[in-house]
Assembly symmetry: C2
Homo-oligomer: 325 residues x 2
Amino acid sequence: MVTINDIAKQAGVSAATVSRVINNSGYVSAETRQIVNRAIADLNYVPNRHAQNLRRGATRNFGIITSSLEQPVLARIEPFMQFANDANYTTTLFNTYRDPQREIEALDRLKSKELDGIFLIYRTNEWSVIEPYTQFGPIVTLHNIQRDDLDIQSVFIDHYEGYKLILEDLWQNGARSFINILGSSRGANTKRRIKAYFDFCEEHEIPPHDIQPFLDITNWERTLKAINHLDEMTVKPDAIITHSDQVASFIISQFRKRDIKMPEEISVVGFDNLMISDLMNFTSVDYSIKEQGRNACRLLLNELGAGPYELMPLRFTLIKRGTTK
Amino acid sequence: MVTINDIAKQAGVSAATVSRVINNSGYVSAETRQIVNRAIADLNYVPNRHAQNLRRGATRNFGIITSSLEQPVLARIEPFMQFANDANYTTTLFNTYRDPQREIEALDRLKSKELDGIFLIYRTNEWSVIEPYTQFGPIVTLHNIQRDDLDIQSVFIDHYEGYKLILEDLWQNGARSFINILGSSRGANTKRRIKAYFDFCEEHEIPPHDIQPFLDITNWERTLKAINHLDEMTVKPDAIITHSDQVASFIISQFRKRDIKMPEEISVVGFDNLMISDLMNFTSVDYSIKEQGRNACRLLLNELGAGPYELMPLRFTLIKRGTTK
DNA sequence: TTGAAAGCGCTAACAG
DNA sequence: CTGTTAGCGCTTTCAA
C-alpha cells in the first residue's frame, strides 16, 4: 500500500508537506506542490481514509436509518443523498427491518465516530433509547417530536391541512360519505388525519364512520382486509381516502381488476404524489416529499456548522387525476 | 470520548486485555472478562471504528455504485443490502449521476480502504479505468464482461432467452407483427434482445421492423418519442415488447389514458417483473432480479474469503397479466 | 492469563 | 515555507 511516507520519500519532502498539499492547508511553494503532486500521480496514491478519520474525528458520512426501503422512504432518501453528496458527504444506509438491536448498532456508529449525523426515517426503539445518542452527533427524523426535551430535529409535516384539502375537494364534487384508510394507530400522522376527518364531519354535519376496521392498514395483507370490509358494507361510500400512494395503488389495482369504475362508482385518493400516482392516474396530495428529504440533510449540515442552509417550506397541493371527479 | 484506555483504567487491566474482551480473541479469564464488560457497560463504551479499521485494514463495508436510483436498480440494491447486512457488512451508496469523476471518487475508496468491495451496478467510466481498482478489492458488476482479461465478476444475465420467451408466447396467441422498444444501443442486453428478435423473425419467416426509431429509449422523453413514432405508423403492430417495466408502465399509462384497449387492440409486455407490473396488471418477464442482487453480494463475500456462498441460478419466467392474450 | 510496547497512516502544533 | 514530533484509538506480537 502506498502511504504518505512513500510520497514524501519520492518527492524528497516531509510527510507534513505532503499532507499540506493533499489538504490544501498551510503554505506550500508552488514548486514543491508540483513535485508532490507528480509523486502522488506517479505512485497512484490515495490517502487512507481511516487514518484521516481517526485523526480528524469526523467522517463526512451520514447514516440513514429506516425500517424498510419502500417507495415513500426512497422518495426521501434519493434527494437526501444527492444533497449530501453535493456537500461532499457520503451516505450509509441502515435497514433495521424493525429489529431494535440493528437500530442500536447503527446508532452506535454515531458514537464510534463512523457517522457524523443520522437521518432517522423510521425508528424502532423508544425515544428514551435514541435520545442519548444526540450527544454524539445530530439526529434528524421524520417523526413528530412532541417532547421538546429531546434534542432531535424533525422534518415532520402535519398532514391535517393536506387531508382537509382532499375532503373539501371531494365534498365540492358531490361526495357525501367517506372511508378513511389509515396507517399506524400510534403515528402522529394518523391522529392528525383522524382529527381532520372528525373536524370536517362536524363542519358539514355528517356522521363519521367507524374508524376501527380501517386503522393500521400498513401492509398489503391488511389492505386486503380493509377491502373486504368495504365489500361487506351494504351502503358503499362515495370516496376512499388513503394515507399513502402505496395503499391507494393497491386498492385501485384491485378495483380495476374487478372493473369497478373510478370515479363514477367511487373516488379514491392517495397521498405523497409519488410516480405511481401519475402512472396509475390517480388523485394524490403533493407536499414536496423530495424537499423534505433535502431539508433533513440541511438540518444535519446546519447542526454540523456547515451551513447555514435555509429550509424550504413544504406546501400541500392536491393533484387531481382520474380517480376523482 | 470514552476510549479503550478509560475502560482499562476503570477495570484495572491493560488496554490489551480490554481489546481481547471486545474481540473475543486470546485468553481472558472469565473473571476479568466480567469486570471488563461491566466497565464497558458502565461507561457506555463503543470502540472507535476508525482506529479499528486503521489497524485491521478492513471495514466490513461494501460500496454500491450506480448512476441512478430508479426502480430496477433499487430492486437489486435492497436484497444486496439485506444479504450484506446478514453477513455483518454495511453498505454505502454512491450515486454518480453519470459523472465519471464521482465514480472515480467512489472507486478510490476501495483503494483508501474505506470499502472492502464494490457492487458496480451502472458504470460511467471505461473498463480500462475501472479495472486497475480490482487490485484493491473485489468488484462485481451487472454488466456483461466480455473481456476475460478483466478481473471483474458479473451477475449479468443474458436476456436472449427471456426475450424469446415473450416472442414465442405472443406468436402462440396470434400476434404477427411486433415493435421492440429497446434500451441503450451500447448495452449487451439490447444487442442480445435484437438478436433474439432477428432470430425469431427468421424462424417464423417474418420481416423485422426498423429498429432505429425504437433504440435508446432510456428515459421518459424518449419513450414519448417512441410512442409518437408508433402513432405515425399506418399499420399498427400486434404487440409492443419493452426492455423494462419502467418503459412499459409509461406506455401503458399513456395507452390507458387514451383508452387504447390492451390486449384487444395491442399487446404490451414489460421486463423485470417489478411490483409495478402487478399493480398495473401488465405482462412481464421475471428473472429473480432480487436473487441477482443477492448473488452480487455472494460473489463479493466469496472473493473476500467469507464464503463459500453458492450462487443461485436465475431463471426466466413469463408472468402473464392483463396486457397480453 | 496478562501487560508493555510498537505501530497502522495521517494531521497539526511548534520550531525553525 | 518546511520539517520534527506527538499522538488519534486500537490490535497484536512478544515477553513475563
